[in-house]
Amino acid sequence: MPRLVSHPDEVKIVSRRFGQGAANIDRYIELGGYQAVKKCLAQGPEWVIDEMKASNLRGRGGAGFPTGLKWSFVPKQSAKPKYVLVNGDESEPCTCKDHLIFLHDPHSVIEGTIIAGLAIGAKMGFIYLRGEYRYLLEIMEKAVADAYAKGFLGKDIFGSGNEFEIITQTGAGAYEVGEESALMESLEGKRGVPRIKPPFPAVVGLYGGPTVINNAETIATVPHVITMGAAAFSAVGSPRNGGTRLFGISGHVEKPGVYELPMGYNLKKIVYEVAGGVWKGRGLKAVIPGGSSTPCLLPDEIDIGMDFDQVGKAGSMLGSAGVCVIDDQTCIVEFAQRTIAFYQHESCGWCIPCREGTDWIKKTITRLHAGFGEAKDIDNIKYIGENMLGRTFCPLGDAAAMPTLAFVKKFRKEFEDHLNGKPCPFAKHA
């Protein structure tokens, strides 16, 4: 069982039921669960969408798109059935927040899915979990069955006359399936290859019907927005960034773990106070602020607020809010190699800049780290990365290129130190 952590600065909204036995439906109700959906049934879809817009809740998967706005794009009338799709494929390295939501608060995901369904006029929702999360899928399946037994799901939910079904689904190992259109392909029983956009999922999505696809953390946040009220929720965060985030802190810190902090919380404080500082009394080399695809920040760049806008301004991204801390005894070339090796492994191969680009960068950095690099390799890595940016079907190409370019730009000397047959100056796998 993953260890839960806490810190006095935490504002527990999404995680408030963690460790309270809320996977049990009666306990969830006792802790205030399923009240938000009843409120939404009474108020109606337009009120729900207005609340979501006013809350400034932005997508927790990484892109940070305003949730209420996304929901409002779904056409009111549709010849084809509409769907809600919950993305629990959580596969971005540094990210393990949804893991805890499924484990400790599965009903919040169900309740959020029903609310999203009411808002867009869908009668069916899907909760897709990555294949590795089998034990969490079983927890979700039990929670869904319990919700059906109570009449919270089915033909007449909460006696309101509304119909809503939830189907759980498992993946089978593929990072790319976390991309929304690839996820829909996978759910249709196909290879997880992304679709071209437009049309966007809100118009043509799952089985060709209008589809809202949200990250599991976003969906689990929805009932809390309704319960607290949009204004109170928005007030917790920073401007245009409502609420909190589950920050998954990993790497070289004394106290790694998933901490729930207000949007806009200072990154330097996250590293040095919340997570207890760099481990073993070592110095800080870099911080990955939002999952492995986000450009690293140097120690003098981390005095920033952790919200979508401020991290963007600092040249990186808040992404999945997976904060990975790297100490000063780590070889950045090796770290860059392991990062690109992941993206090379996960590239679906559909489009050439990503398939070839990830492969050539991996080969070049691997050779460079082994001490067989040539001076031109460093510029070549940069050249390949720059030519991947914005030229791929889906964001995986950018996800591979962005961190690589940042490593080369910010740690060029470390790359150069590996040239001319010199051995890696750092201990192996420091």
């Binding site: 993953p2 540094c94 294949g131 590795e132 089978a172 392991r338």
Partner: protein, 170 residues
């Protein structure tokens, strides 16, 4: 086909598959879970399993293979009874994931993508398994083991050996 009479799966799994093809608006959505559950039961996607899945969903065997080959958890060859998957992605690497992998290699006397002679364990180096804040982490089949140290490796293996001898089952 009359799956009730000629299914290669246990009655429980066959019944589960009967329900799966009716669960979704489109039958083919059952494909990926069906492949995973088939593999859970027989250890890999055998030719016979692929044939039965294709017939149950109403697609070609080639379609099944094409989709299966995309997903890293699905395999066409048997693994060990307990498949040890060691994450070495960045967060696990930073906290000693490769040391954990090396210790498993030493204890099991096998490399990655290999299986012990008794068929008990196989070893894989895998990408991020979603346990980054509790690194280094591994999975044995579907069980997570978090915050590992090399000295815990032999105890984990012994626990699975004990489980195998007491249960006799998978």
């Amino acid at each position: 086909m009359n799956t009730e009479t000629i299914s290669i799966f246990t009655p429980a799994t066959a019944a589960r598959f009967d329900a799966l093809v009716l669960k979704y608006p489109v039958k083919r959505s059952a494909l990926i879970p069906m492949m995973l559950y088939a593999q859970d039961e027989i250890g890999y996607l055998s030719d016979a399993a692929i044939l039965e899945i294709a017939q149950r969903i109403g697609i070609t065997e080639l379609d099944v293979r094409s989709v299966a080959s995309y997903y890293s958890m699905l395999r066409f060859k048997p693994a060990g009874r307990y498949n040890v998957q060691v994450c070495t992605n960045i967060c696990c690497m930073l906290r000693g994931g490769y040391d954990i992998l090396d210790r498993f290699k030493e204890e099991l006397h096998i490399g990655t993508k290999e299986t012990t002679a008794d068929g008990m364990f196989s070893l894989e180096e895998v990408e991020c398994i979603g346990a980054c804040s509790w690194a280094p982490a591994i999975q044995v089949n579907y069980d997570f083991h978090d915050e590992l140290k090399p000295e815990l490796v032999s105890g984990i293996l012994d626990a699975y050996r004990g489980k195998a001898s007491s249960k006799g089952g998978r």
